[in-house]
């Protein structure tokens, strides 16, 4: 297994449980990929890449007994968007409280929210069974593919006529147009639209972002669909638990072991070569890296079919997100949030209109970071006591948009600092005295994320989640079932179906495909 990201570890666990001898090779001195907890500042633990959990499949957690290996996921309550005029919109778990909160802005929207939630649930129910299944190849006549197509067809037709049309429309709509069909107030739409652009090089008005919204809605915690939570101890707790589960099944992990080449002979994978020169033979090689790194960096493209290589080159992996991880000397004040409201423990945002989100995207298109970026802020230390000294706090700030390559030249330390200032200024607008609380700030651009984590262009999903890169198109049409053109070489990262987020489904599905092939 090349790469100890969460998908690689999930796949490795399933393979080890099935009796295979598994070795995971990780180039960093620590495992986890983008699901890590890092101690980058005295006494503080940062979830310095991914920061919240919802999509991790319950079936995976249970089968691998991750709680038994130390994982605990704690849901957080609600969230809030802070408005420039000092107002706010909060989301609460309690349905009556939520209704009254939305009614402060619009009575009609308060009720339309029920219809919205119901429709999102309907879409979730439709897509959930598809997540842990390999997509069929619609151009193939193989019985497996035909059978799966038929299964999908039946699943779709079970929706009933009206909902079939709704589903077709939903998958092609933009988030802004979708929200316009329910809500009238800008703040409600802006709050909900945030999830449609996370990690995505599209704006809320781009068709296809309604799906991205669903992607961030379809997780669940303990049966509550759409709930998000913290992994106790940071996101690294997930990958640490996976590593423990792997060890319990007899698997091995080696850090500081960067893989330089995937070795093949006669169209068959034979093992890997490390940067040190050491060669490790293996019957199967599974790559947790994104498709570009796997096929264009770790292999000689000449070994692959030219059309495959062309498609891999065309697979869009665009960095659009930045991250700040901030150690704070105390809890920041947000005057817009009423005292005692639990929503401060949830996700906090500062973009209060669709136009603001869209303009932030326009900046990215021009090769600049957003002047008024979308921020997704969380302070897990309010709930998780393990991540900072008592009374002090760690704040995670996810920033959309930030380009991988700036229009005016490469990233420099000055530019990074300037980007960081843009973000902090934005926060300080809503939190007086915020700057004074900052003990340390780690500022990460897509360029930094790529260098450190190994994600091409720092794209958190290992590839855009647009319609042309989903399902049977992900990552390459004809190769959407975890197999590569090389026998014995498989893909298991987020570049494969069903895509990114800390889900584990790509890893699990890849393992299923591998084990299926072995049986045959």
């Amino acid at each position: 297994m090349v790469g100890a990201g969460h998908n690689g570890l999930v796949a490795a666990c399933f393979l080890a449980r099935a009796g295979l001898k598994v070795l995971v090779l990780e180039r960093n001195p620590y495992i986890g990929g983008a699901a890590v907890s890092r101690r980058l500042y005295d006494g503080f633990t940062y979830s310095n890449c991914s920061y919240v959990c919802s999509l991790l499949r319950t079936e995976i957690i249970r089968t691998l007994d991750l709680p038994g290996h130390g994982l605990q996921i704690i849901p957080y309550e609600g969230g809030c968007t802070l408005m420039r005029n000092g107002g706010h919109l909060a989301l609460y778990d309690n349905h009556d409280a939520l209704r009254r909160e939305i009614a402060r802005h619009s009575r009609r929207d308060a009720e339309a929210y029920d219809r919205f939630a119901r429709d999102m649930l309907r879409h979730c129910r439709f897509i959930k069974p598809l997540l842990l299944r390999a997509p069929p190849d619609p151009t193939s006549f193989k019985p497996r593919d035909l059978g799966e197509l038929l299964h999908l067809g039946r699943h779709f037709s079970n929706l009933g006529e009206e909902r079939m049309y709704e589903t077709l429309r939903f998958w092609t709509l933009s988030c802004a147009d979708l929200l316009d069909e329910y809500f009238e107030s800008e703040i409600v739409k802006a709050h909900l639209a945030g999830s449609s652009i996370i990690g995505t090089a599209l704006g809320p008005r781009s068709p296809g972002t309604a799906y991205v919204l669903l992607h961030h809605y379809m997780g669940s915690i303990d049966g509550t669909v759409g709930a998000w939570g913290f992994a106790r101890g940071g996101m690294g707790a997930i990958t640490q638990a996976l590593a423990a589960a792997l060890a319990a099944s007899g698997g091995e992990i080696r850090c500081d072991a960067p893989v330089e080449r995937i070795l093949t002979r006669n169209g068959r994978a034979t093992g890997v070569a490390l940067a040190s020169g050491a060669e490790i033979p293996a019957k199967l090689v599974v790559s947790n890296m994104d498709v570009r790194r796997t096929f264009l960096k770790a292999m000689d493209p000449a070994e692959l079919p030219p059309e495959f290589v062309q498609r891999v080159r065309q697979f869009k992996i665009r960095g659009s997100s930045g991250k700040l991880n901030i150690a704070l000397d105390g809890l920041p004040r947000f005057p817009a949030i009423p005292a005692g409201s639990p929503c401060v423990r949830g996700d906090l945002h500062v973009t209060d209109s669709i136009d603001m989100l869209e303009r932030a995207y326009d900046d990215w298109k021009e090769g600049r970071w957003s002047q008024r970026p979308y921020l997704d802020m969380l302070i897990p230390t309010q709930i998780d006591p393990t991540m900072a000294p008592a009374g002090k706090h760690y704040m995670s700030v996810f920033v959309q948009y930030c380009p991988y390559a700036l229009a005016d030249g490469p990233w420099t330390d000055d530019k990074r600092a300037s980007f960081g200032r843009t973000v902090i200024d934005s926060i300080a607008e809503h939190s007086p005295g915020f700057r004074d609380l900052i003990l340390h700030a780690e500022i990460r651009t897509p360029y930094d994320i790529e260098r450190e984590v190994g994600l091409t262009e720092g794209n958190i999903f290992q590839g855009e989640l647009t319609f042309d890169q989903l399902l049977f198109n992900r990552p390459v049409p004809g190769y959407a079932q975890y197999r590569s053109p090389i026998k014995g070489l498989y893909m298991c990262g987020s570049s494969t179906h069903p895509g990114g987020g800390v889900m584990g489904a790509p890893g699990a599905n890849a393992a299923t495909a591998i084990l299926g092939d072995l049986r045959r």
Binding site: T139, R169, F170, T172, D177, D180, D468
Partner: protein, 495 residues
């Protein structure tokens, strides 16, 4: 008043209404076409916009009408003649021009070898894909989940046609169908001018930008509707009005009646069926069925009325995105415009001002926020170059489709039309020095004006935005996607 009975009443004598009427009449039905304006044609008409100068008032090129239709209705017999056919597209830049399809003689003019070769392959493949999609355009969309054999057979037939594409093409189609045209073009080409022109084709008349997912789809739609051939552009003698006049004659010839200046106020409903119409004058006209070529919002909410429809259906109609993003410019010119990039050649083709995909995207950006584009994109023809009868001797007309001009502009169009006109003229001047000074009269139709003049709610000539989520089985809305309204006896035949 007299209630003489017709089999069908067609509301609106635009090209769709007239075509529908012609076919109904040929099938033996007693048809009456009612047009509110004093002249048929709707948005495919010719009128005088300045004394002595005539122009196609909205659509100005014949592009998507299938040849078999023109033949079946015998439009040539009814007077339709072309002033130009198979017009090339010429993309203009400050430095030069690029002709598409490529001039077979001059190799790689303004285009590198790789791009020229790539264009050839790209066009071939897009043609194949578009051809496979064509049946979608000529079929009554099937109903999903329907037990009716007709629907099931249609679906199967469409799937089979797509399969016939072969694996590679089908894979490609499935891959690019949801993509944005910018990404597709970046995969194939280098030249910004070429990409700009191709991107422009994808977004012309839509509410999308080159980076909007779904813009490959709109491009494929355009190609499919054009019969898979990229350059079937034609210009009728006398403008598009000649087309609709020929259609009117064909309809008349088949026995249909046409009444002009007869705006319909509402549809008569009797026993939950459409039973005719009432004109604004109060006159009642009865018929077994009513076919409306008006846009869905007008048809369902104004002519029929929400009280005859289910609330969920009405909700879908109110959510239909119908706003236009395109303006129309008419210039009366004292002399032939001299486009620098054409180096003296007479502009007989379709000129496109879209210097790069980035320029198209930036123009789109403006429109997203309720502003007209600061650097608009233009599709220009000088119809008098091949059809001198449209203007006095030696004078000329310039007709341009302008992208992007949002229906709703911050501050309203009243105060901004002049500014926008000025911006457009500046753009033209940059490519054709001296043009401004030769302008004798100018008319700019914003989407608001288009709405008012052609009675299209929202001012979008497609009636409803052309987008994947408003297409085929869900166009205009689920429940009315098979040309039938939910009400018996009421049909739709408009864009």
């Amino acid at each position: 008043m007299s209630a003489s009975r017709y089999d069908c009443i067609v509301v609106g004598a635009g090209h769709n209404g007239l075509t529908c009427a012609a076919y109904l009449a040929r099938a033996g039905r007693r048809v009456l076409v009612l047009e509110a304006a004093e002249r048929p044609g709707g948005a495919a008409a010719t009128r005088e916009f300045a004394p002595g100068y005539r122009v196609s008032s909205c659509a100005h090129l014949l592009h998507l009408m299938p040849a078999w239709l023109l033949e079946e209705l015998g439009l040539a017999r009814h007077g339709l003649r072309m002033a130009a056919e198979r017009m090339p597209t010429i993309a203009l830049s400050p430095t030069g021009a690029l002709r598409i399809p490529l001039d077979p003689d001059s190799a790689a003019q303004n285009l590198g070898d790789t791009d020229a070769h790539a264009l050839h392959e790209y066009e071939a493949r897009m043609r194949r894909l578009a051809r496979a999609l064509r049946p979608l355009l000529e079929a009554v969309p099937p109903r999903l989940g329907s037990r009716a054999w007709r629907d099931r057979l249609t679906l199967l037939g469409l799937a089979a046609k797509l399969r016939l594409l072969g694996r590679a093409d089908l894979r490609e189609l499935l891959r690019i169908a949801g993509m944005c045209v910018q990404d597709l073009l970046d995969e194939h080409f280098e030249s910004p001018l070429l990409k700009g022109a191709l991107a422009f084709d994808a977004v012309l008349g839509t509410n999308l930008g080159p980076r909007s997912p779904g813009s490959v789809f709109t491009l494929l739609y355009r190609l499919a509707a054009a019969g898979g051939a990229p350059a079937s552009l034609a210009q009728p003698v006398g403008g598009l009005g000649a087309l609709t006049e020929a259609l009117a004659r064909a309809a008349n010839g088949a026995g249909a009646e046409l009444r002009l200046g007869a705006p319909v106020a509402r549809v008569i409903v009797s026993e939950d069926s459409a039973a005719g119409v009432v004109l604004e004058s109060g006159e009642r006209l009865e018929a077994d069925c009513v076919v409306s070529s008006a846009d869905p919002t007008t048809t369902f909410l104004r002519l029929l009325g929400a009280e005859h429809l289910d609330a969920g259906f009405v909700r879908r109609v109110t959510h239909l995105r119908t706003e236009g993003m395109t303006a129309k410019l008419h210039l009366a010119l004292g002399r032939m415009p001299q486009f620098t990039a054409l180096a003296g050649a007479v502009p007989t083709g379709r000129l496109v001002l879209a210097p790069s995909p980035g320029a198209v995207e930036r123009a789109f950006n403006d429109a997203k926020y309720g502003k007209f584009s600061a650097a608009p994109l233009l599709e220009i023809i000088v119809p008098t170059a091949v059809d001198p009868g449209l203007a006095p001797a030696g004078q000329h007309v310039l007709s341009a489709v302008v992208q992007y001009a949002p229906y709703r502009v911050a501050g309203g169009w009243e105060g901004q039309r002049e500014q926008f006109l000025d911006t457009i003229l500046q753009t033209l001047e940059a490519h054709a020095p001296g043009l401004r000074e030769s302008v004798r009269a100018a008319e700019l139709l914003t989407p608001e004006d288009i709405e008012a003049e052609f009675r299209i709610s929202g001012g979008n000539w497609h009636h409803a935005e052309l987008a994947l989520d408003q297409f085929f089985m869900v166009r205009p809305v689920p429940g009315a996607a098979q040309y039938r309204a939910p009400l018996k006896g009421l049909f739709l035949c408009g864009a």
